[in-house]
C-alpha cells in the first residue's frame, strides 16, 4: 500500500516554460531600479554634503568645530532634544492613558490630542510668541496686572529663552508620542488588566507592572521618533531664538548657508552629528524592539472604557488641548485682527484689513498654490512608491538584500532632520546634471524623500494586518498578481491609503525646514513666506498667514474625511 514513486509523470517535463524564475527576476530588477532611484534621491545628497565637508583636509569641519561657541550650540541641541523628549513622553503617555479612560459619551475627545498636528508648527510658535513675548505679549500684559509683577514693562515670561523653546517644542512632540502610545494601548485588552486585578494588583500596580511593560515597544518607538524630531527641531529655535542668540545645530546649518558668502562645507559639518546620531538611533531601535510578536496581545475585549467618574481624564485632555491648540490660536486671531501688534487691545481697532491684504497679494496666493500643488504632487508619487516598498518589505523574503536596502531607505528620512535634506538638495540640484533650483520640482523631490517613511510604514502596517490569505485566495481562484492587486489589495487598503494621504498632506503643507532651504524668492511655499514676513516684522500679516495655513490644512483633512469616512484621522 505504501506509495510507489510516480513513473508516468516525466513525459511532459520541460514542456512548460519556467514562469517563476523569469517572474522573480522581473520583480527583482523592478525593485532594484526603484531602490536605485530612491538611493539617488535619499543618499546622494548626504554623500555630496560629506564629500564637501571633508574637502581641503576637512576645512568644513575645522571651520565649524573651531568656533568658540560650538560647544554651546551642541549643548543647546542636546538640552532641547532631551527636555522636549521628557515633556512629550510624560504628557503623551498620560494623555493616552487618559484618552483610554474617557467616559463613553466623551469618546470623541480621543481625537483632540492629535489636532495640534493639524496646526502648523510655525503657526503654533508665532501664536505663543504673540502671547508670551516679554514686551507686548498679551499674556505677559495680563500677568503684569497681578500685584507682584506690576510696575515693569517686560516679563515675567520671556518666550525667546531656551526653557520656553523646550516647553513649546515638547508640546509639539506630545501629539506624536500620543499617536504611538494610544495605538499601543489599543492592543491591551481589558482582560489583561482584570487578570492582574483579580491576582491582587492595585490600579497603580497594574499601570506600572502590566500597562507600561506591554507598552514598551510603543514607548521605545514613539520616544525614538520624538528624540529624533527634537534633535532636528528647527522651527522653534529659528523663530524664537534667532534674535536672542539661541543656537542649535540646525539653525547653525541654516546660518552657514544663508549668510553670504555661504559655506556649505561648514553647514554639512554642522549637520554631521545629527546624521550620525540619527543612523545610530534607527539601528538601536531595530535591535531593542527585536521580535515584536512577543508584544502582540491576543483578542479579548478592547481596553476597558472606564465606567466610573473619569473627570480627571476629561480634564487632562481638555487642558492639553487648551495649551496646544486653543490658546495659541487665540493669540493668532487677536494679532491678525489688529493693524499692529502691541500689548494693548481695544475693540475699536479690530479690522479685517490683514485678511483683505492676504487675498490681494499675489505672492501669497501663489504660495498657497505652490504649497498645495507640491504637497499633492509628492503625495501622489509617494503612495505607489510606498506600496511597492511595503510589498517588498512584507513579502520580500526572496529579496533579502533589496529588502534591507528598502528598510534603510525608508528609515533614513526619519532619522535625519529635514534641514539637512534641505541643505543637501540645495547643494545637489544647483549643479549639473539636474539644475532644478527655484522650481517646484525640487520642492516635490525633497517632499517625496521626507514622506517615504510615512507612505511605506502605514501601508506596511496595513498589509501585515491583512495577512496573506486574501491574496492567496485570489491566486488560487485564478487571478494574476496584477489582478489581485487591483481587485483585492487596493480596495482593502483604501482606508489606510486615504489616511496616509491625509497625514502626508498635513505634514507637507506645514513643511518649513526643508522648504526654507530649497525655496527661491520667486518660488515660495506658505511656511517660508510666513518666515519672511516674520523677519520683516509685519506681525499682523504673519498671524493672518498662519491662520490661512491652518485653514488650508483643515480643508484638506476635511476633504480626506469626506472621501475616506470619518475614521481617516483616527487611523493615523
Amino acid at each position: 500500500m505504501a506509495t510507489a514513486t510516480a513513473t508516468a509523470t516525466a513525459t511532459a517535463g520541460g514542456s512548460v516554460k519556467s514562469f517563476s524564475i523569469s517572474r522573480q527576476w522581473q520583480a527583482r530588477i523592478g525593485y532594484a531600479i526603484l531602490i536605485a532611484v530612491l538611493a539617488y534621491l535619499v543618499v546622494l545628497p548626504m554623500i555630496r554634503l560629506q564629500m564637501l565637508a571633508f574637502e581641503d583636509g576637512g576645512a568644513g569641519y575645522r571651520t565649524q568645530y573651531g568656533r568658540y561657541d560650538v560647544a554651546e550650540a551642541i549643548w543647546t541641541t542636546i538640552a532641547l532634544a532631551l527636555g522636549s523628549l521628557v515633556i512629550a513622553m510624560v504628557l503623551g503617555t498620560v494623555l493616552a492613558f487618559a484618552a483610554s479612560r474617557l467616559p463613553e459619551k466623551l469618546g470623541w475627545l480621543r481625537i483632540v490630542p492629535i489636532l495640534p498636528i493639524v496646526m502648523p508648527a510655525v503657526a503654533n510658535i508665532v501664536g505663543w510668541a504673540f502671547l508670551l513675548s516679554p514686551g507686548p505679549g498679551y499674556l505677559n500684559v495680563l500677568l503684569r496686572k497681578l500685584p507682584w509683577w506690576s510696575g515693569t514693562d517686560t516679563g515675567p515670561i520671556d518666550v525667546y529663552t531656551i526653557p520656553w523653546i523646550v516647553i513649546l517644542t515638547g508640546f509639539g512632540l506630545t501629539s506624536f508620542v500620543y499617536l504611538f502610545v494610544s495605538s499601543g494601548m489599543q492592543n491591551i485588552s481589558s482582560e489583561h488588566l482584570e487578570a492582574a486585578q483579580v491576582s491582587g494588583s492595585s490600579t497603580v500596580g497594574i499601570f506600572f507592572k502590566i500597562v507600561l511593560p506591554l507598552l514598551r515597544p510603543s514607548l521605545i518607538y514613539g520616544g525614538g521618533i520624538a528624540l529624533l524630531l527634537g534633535l532636528g527641531q528647527f522651527t522653534g529655535p529659528l523663530l524664537l531664538g534667532q534674535n536672542s542668540g539661541v543656537k542649535v545645530l540646525t539653525t547653525e546649518m541654516y546660518r552657514r548657508v544663508s549668510e553670504s558668502p555661504s559655506d556649505f562645507a561648514a553647514a554639512a559639518a554642522a549637520g554631521s552629528p545629527l546624521v550620525i546620531f540619527g543612523l545610530v538611533l534607527v539601528l538601536v531601535q531595530k535591535v531593542l524592539l527585536g521580535n515584536q510578536t512577543r508584544f502582540v496581545t491576543h483578542g479579548g475585549k478592547a481596553f476597558a472604557s472606564s465606567t466610573g467618574r473619569a473627570t480627571w481624564a476629561t480634564a487632562t485632555v481638555v487642558i492639553f488641548s487648551m495649551f496646544a491648540l486653543v490658546i495659541p490660536l487665540i493669540g493668532l486671531i487677536i494679532v491678525s485682527l489688529t493693524p499692529y501688534w502691541s500689548g494693548s487691545l481695544s475693540w475699536g481697532l479690530l479690522t479685517l484689513d490683514n485678511f483683505r491684504e492676504l487675498w490681494s497679494t499675489s505672492a501669497i496666493t501663489e504660495s498657497v498654490v505652490t504649497s498645495v500643488l507640491t504637497s499633492l504632487g509628492a503625495v501622489i508619487i509617494c503612495i505607489p512608491i510606498g506600496y511597492a516598498l511595503a510589498n517588498l518589505l512584507v513579502r520580500g523574503r526572496r529579496f533579502k538584500i533589496l529588502a534591507l536596502l528598502a528598510d534603510l531607505m525608508t528609515a533614513l528620512p526619519l532619522g535625519i532632520p529635514a534641514v539637512i535634506f534641505g541643505v543637501g538638495f540645495l547643494l545637489t540640484y544647483t549643479e549639473p546634471p539636474f539644475i532644478l533650483y527655484g522650481t517646484r520640482t525640487v520642492i516635490i523631490l525633497v517632499y517625496i524623500v521626507l514622506m517615504l517613511p510615512f507612505a511605506t510604514r502605514m501601508q506596511m502596517t496595513a498589509m501585515l494586518a491583512l495577512g496573506n490569505t486574501y491574496n492567496e485566495a485570489s491566486a488560487t481562484s485564478g487571478a494574476s498578481p496584477f489582478v489581485t492587486t487591483l481587485r483585492i489589495m487596493l480596495p482593502l487598503m483604501r482606508p489606510t491609503v486615504l489616511s496616509a494621504v491625509a497625514l502626508m498632506f498635513i505634514l507637507l503643507t506645514h513643511e518649513f525646514a526643508a522648504s526654507l532651504l530649497v525655496r527661491a524668492s520667486t518660488t515660495q511655499v506658505m511656511g517660508t513666506l510666513l518666515f519672511d514676513m516674520w523677519q520683516n516684522g509685519s506681525y499682523p500679516m504673519v498671524a493672518a498667514m498662519a491662520l490661512l495655513m491652518t485653514a488650508v490644512t483643515t480643508i484638506g483633512v476635511a476633504i480626506a474625511m469626506l472621501v475616506g469616512g470619518r475614521n481617516v484621522l483616527s487611523k493615523l
Partner: protein
C-alpha cells in the same frame, strides 16, 4: 495506470528545518484524499506546494501528466495558472465584496463569461444552501455560512483539484459536523478531486476515500480509512487514530508481562508469537474495547483480565469515561452507564477493580524506546490479525 495527480520526491525546507521530506503521493481522478497529522507534520505545507503557494526545494508535482513543478527543470507554474480551487481555514472571503461577487470571482478572473451567464454563481450558492445570502457581505454571515460560501467559491469554476486547508477548524462543534457532511455530499454528487488537510481523525474517516497519515514531513501510512482504522502500520499511527491506551510489554516464558507483572496470553489471538524472552513491545488499543467488571468471575472467556485501581471517572451520558491505573500505566475505558453507574458513584479513587479486553483488539509494535530490539513478526500489519 497513471495517476491524475502525482507528487514525487517533494522536499521543502525552511532554513535547516526540513518540513516536507522526499514525499511521494498519488491521487486518482475523483478521489477525496485526506492528509492527516498533528501540527507541524508538514501536511499544510504539502497542500500549499500543490497549490503553488510555496516553492519546494526539490521533487516534482504533475497535474494530469503535465509538470506544474519540477525542481530539475526549474518549472514552477504559479498558483493562478494551475486551475485549482482552495478553501482556507480562516474562510478568506474578501470583506469588500458581496457573497455573489466572492463566488463569481474565480469565474470572472478566468474569463468564464458563459458560466456566469448560465447562472453558475447562483447554482453554486444553492448547492451550499446560501442562495438567499447572495447580496450580503461576509461580515453579515455566521462562521458556518462564511465557510459554506468559501466552499462554493472553491468549487464554482469546476477546477481540476480542490484543496481544503483545515476548513472546519474555526467552526464550533455543531457547525463543523454540518459543513463536513455538506462537503461530503458535494463530493458524492459532483465527483471533484480533493485534497483535505486536517488534524482531526473523525473528519478524516468521515470524508476520505484514502487517508495519508503524515509524520515529520513523510507519509507514514497511505490507505483506505477502514484499513487505517483496523491496521495502523505503526504505533504513531495507532496513537493518532484513537488507540489511546498503551501497555508496555516484555516477553516472558509463558506470555507477555505488563509493567504490573500481570501475564497476557496472546497465543489465542493467532499471534505469530515467536519473540525471544525479554523482548520489549508495546500494545495499543481503544478505550471502547476495554470492559470493566465487578470481579474476576465476570470476565468473558478468552478475554485478558488485569487488576487495576480507579483514578477518576467522568459522566458522558450513555457511558462513563473511566481512567484506571495498572502498574505504571493509566488506561482509559468506557463503562456503560446503565451497568456501572451505581458502582462508580460509590467508588473512591484507589478502589481496586478488574478490567478486561479481547487480545484481538490489541495491536502490538516493537517498543520504540527499546531501540536495539526488533521484532519483525510483531510489526505491521498488526499482531492480532483477524483475517
Amino acid at each position: 495506470m497513471a495517476s491524475q495527480f502525482a507528487v514525487s520526491g517533494l522536499t521543502k525546507t525552511y532554513g535547516s528545518n526540513v518540513v516536507v521530506d522526499q514525499l511521494d503521493l498519488e491521487i486518482e481522478q475523483g478521489e477525496f484524499l485526506v492528509l492527516l497529522g498533528p501540527s507541524g507534520c508538514g501536511k499544510t505545507t504539502t497542500l500549499r506546494c500543490l497549490a503553488g503557494l510555496e516553492t519546494p526545494q526539490g521533487g516534482s508535482i504533475s497535474f494530469d501528466g503535465r509538470h506544474v513543478f519540477d525542481a530539475s527543470t526549474k518549472t514552477d507554474v504559479p498558483a493562478h495558472k494551475r486551475n485549482i480551487g482552495m478553501v482556507f481555514q480562516s474562510y478568506a472571503l474578501w470583506p469588500h465584496m458581496t457573497v455573489r461577487d466572492n463566488i463569481r470571482y474565480p469565474l470572472k478572473v478566468r474569463k468564464l463569461k458563459q458560466a456566469i451567464a448560465d447562472g453558475a454563481v447562483e447554482k453554486a450558492a444553492e448547492m451550499v444552501d446560501c442562495g438567499a445570502l447572495l447580496d450580503r457581505y461576509p461580515s453579515q454571515l455566521s462562521g458556518g455560512q462564511q465557510q459554506r460560501v468559501a466552499v462554493a467559491r472553491g468549487l464554482v469554476a469546476q477546477p481540476d483539484l480542490v484543496l481544503f486547508d483545515e476548513p472546519l477548524s474555526n467552526l464550533d462543534a455543531r457547525l463543523r459536523d454540518q459543513v463536513r457532511s455538506q462537503i461530503h455530499q458535494l463530493h458524492q454528487s459532483l465527483g471533484f478531486t480533493a485534497v483535505f488537510v486536517t488534524h482531526d481523525q473523525a473528519e478524516a474517516f468521515a470524508l476520505a476515500d484514502r487517508i495519508a497519515i503524515m509524520k515529520s514531513g513523510r507519509i507514514e501510512q497511505y490507505d483506505a480509512p477502514e484499513h487505517v482504522f483496523e491496521n495502523p502500520v505503526s504505533e504513531y499511527v495507532a496513537a493518532f487514530i484513537g488507540m489511546g491506551n498503551r501497555l508496555e510489554l516484555r516477553r516472558a516464558h509463558d506470555g507477555w508481562n505488563t509493567s504490573a507483572n500481570d501475564v497476557i496470553d496472546l497465543s489465542n489471538a493467532s499471534v505469530r508469537d515467536r519473540a525471544d524472552e525479554g523482548t520489549a513491545a508495546v500494545a495499543r488499543f481503544r478505550p471502547d474495547d476495554v470492559q470493566m467488571h465487578a470481579s474476576m468471575d465476570d470476565v468473558p472467556a478468552g478475554n485478558v483480565a488485569l487488576h487495576a485501581e480507579l483514578v477518576t471517572y467522568e459522566y458522558a451520558g450513555r457511558h462513563f469515561d473511566v481512567l484506571v491505573k495498572t502498574g505504571t500505566e493509566q488506561l482509559a475505558l468506557r463503562a456503560s452507564a446503565a451497568e456501572h453507574s451505581a458502582t462508580l458513584r460509590a467508588s473512591d479513587p484507589g478502589t481496586p477493580m478488574v478490567i478486561s479486553f479481547s487480545p484481538s483488539s490489541l495491536r502490538v509494535y516493537a517498543d520504540p524506546d527499546a531501540a536495539a530490539v526488533t521484532v519483525p513478526e510483531l510489526v505491521a500489519p498488526g499482531v492480532g490479525d483477524r483475517s
